[in-house]
Symmetry: C2
């Protein structure tokens, strides 16, 4: 059931992303081709789905929240393109296809990431409820800045040379690099729906713990990070603990939040 | 007189930028050091001054517009850091000092640019007049995206290989790469001040032609681009024509716009 739900929403997000991204024939063609290539690549769309579902749980309408949901996915795509660059993780492939810089060259890959970040804020600015835009821009820009996602990437680069990072540093990296955008996704969905501060806080906590668990599962699947330090068993126990903390935060929503519970179970049990 | 005016405002902007940029000791230190190094480097601050002055001409208060003025300068700094990268213009120095990637390495330079762009939108979101934020985010994100500043940089990279670009392509590059952010600066100053659509349009036109002239003067000083095609004389005539078009747009403001006229004269006659 959760698979059907995720698949339906993945398609919805892909359709919207396809509309928001500039057409392939718009000038300069090469950057618009690279933007579409990098975004429309079969991603799971977990982050935008978090935006939609958090909004729905708080009584918001899907239609109202689609631009911000797509913006969050564009931010995620931008971060992957820049992380893959030769001077960073030097990744030749992304989801089984050449990474952006392998296909379009390094300069264009940097600019493609830059354009996606700019487009993300452009989508947020189209949000209908004008009074909410300021807060959404604030939360997202903070989550992805030098104290958030980029801070995590900086620390990650720092420890790449070292053989094993200490657990404290790994915690810092995971909470910044992955959890902070997921927390922002869940939080902004709630904000746009006009949720109470208590609900906003609960969904932020859910998103954050979901993000931390997501990163642990990634580490188990890739055999690095936490899994390297504690072994796959220890990392799995830790993921379970984090998912249960994420689900604790959902209590105030009762059965309304069942889809979010299914999402967190899916994150815990995913095999790729 | 214009020099005193520019110097006074440059100092004001530098002081504000120093406050908005994260402290050097905040973790991860290296990125915050790189952000401050790249922004607080003695720039002329023409773009943020355009925001302040456009706002003042339309009856706005300087204090209200400072976050957006600083945001525009952060966007400009981000674009310079990325333009200087080895895969782009490969510039070893910037204002007589090592460029960001020469000092901090390529990976960190990319992330420093990324952080400055995120921080720029964060500053905009702190704008007091919440109802205006959506439009300001819309205008700036559009001006710097793949149809604006980044589009210009993509075309610029395309023609770098070719010996001489045609005038039509040079026009495209200049209008996107330089004029579009200057137009956005003048326009957003007016928007925040609560100007009429007619005033907003006039200041946008002023900023755009000022930006085009600015790029021509740059070309004359660096002996490339337009100056290469038409010779320094032709490029100077063209700059004069553009500055007079910029000043035409100011007519509706009368003597109130004298500072903006001084700024455009300064841009035309600058020697570095």
């Amino acid at each position: 059931m959760i698979k059907k739900y995720l698949e339906k929403n993945r398609r919805l997000i892909d359709k919207e992303l396809g509309k928001y991204l500039p057409e392939r024939i718009s000038r300069p063609r090469i950057i618009h081709e690279a933007m579409r290539y990098s975004v429309l690549n079969g991603g799971k769309r977990i982050r935008p789905i978090l935006v939609l579902e958090s909004s729905r749980v708080c009584g918001g309408r899907i239609k109202d929240v689609l631009p911000v949901a797509c913006a969050i996915e564009l931010v995620h795509s931008y971060s992957l393109i820049h992380d893959d660059l030769p001077s960073m993780d030097d990744a030749a492939t992304r989801r089984g296809k050449p990474s952006c810089h392998m296909k379009y060259g390094e300069a264009l890959a940097i600019l493609t990431g830059d354009s996606l970040l700019s487009l993300a804020f452009n989508l947020i600015s189209r949000e209908k409820n004008k009074a909410k835009i300021g807060r959404v821009v604030f939360e997202i820009s903070k989550a992805i800045g030098s104290f958030g996602m980029i801070g995590g990437q900086v620390m990650d680069l720092n420890v790449k040379g070292a053989k094993k990072a200490d657990p404290h540093t790994m915690q810092y990296i995971n909470s910044r690099k992955t959890a902070s955008l997921m927390a922002a996704a869940a939080k902004t969905g709630a904000i746009i729906a006009g949720a109470s501060e208590k609900e906003i806080k609960a969904l932020q906590k859910y998103g954050e713990h979901l993000g931390l668990a997501f990163q642990r599962v990634d580490d188990i699947l890739d055999r690095n990070g936490y899994a390297e330090i504690f072994g796959a068993g220890g990392a799995h126990d830790e993921s379970k603990r984090l998912i249960s903390k994420a689900e604790d935060a959902l209590e105030i929503f009762g059965r309304q939040a069942d889809n979010l519970r299914h999402i967190s179970d899916f994150v815990l049990n995913r095999k790729h």
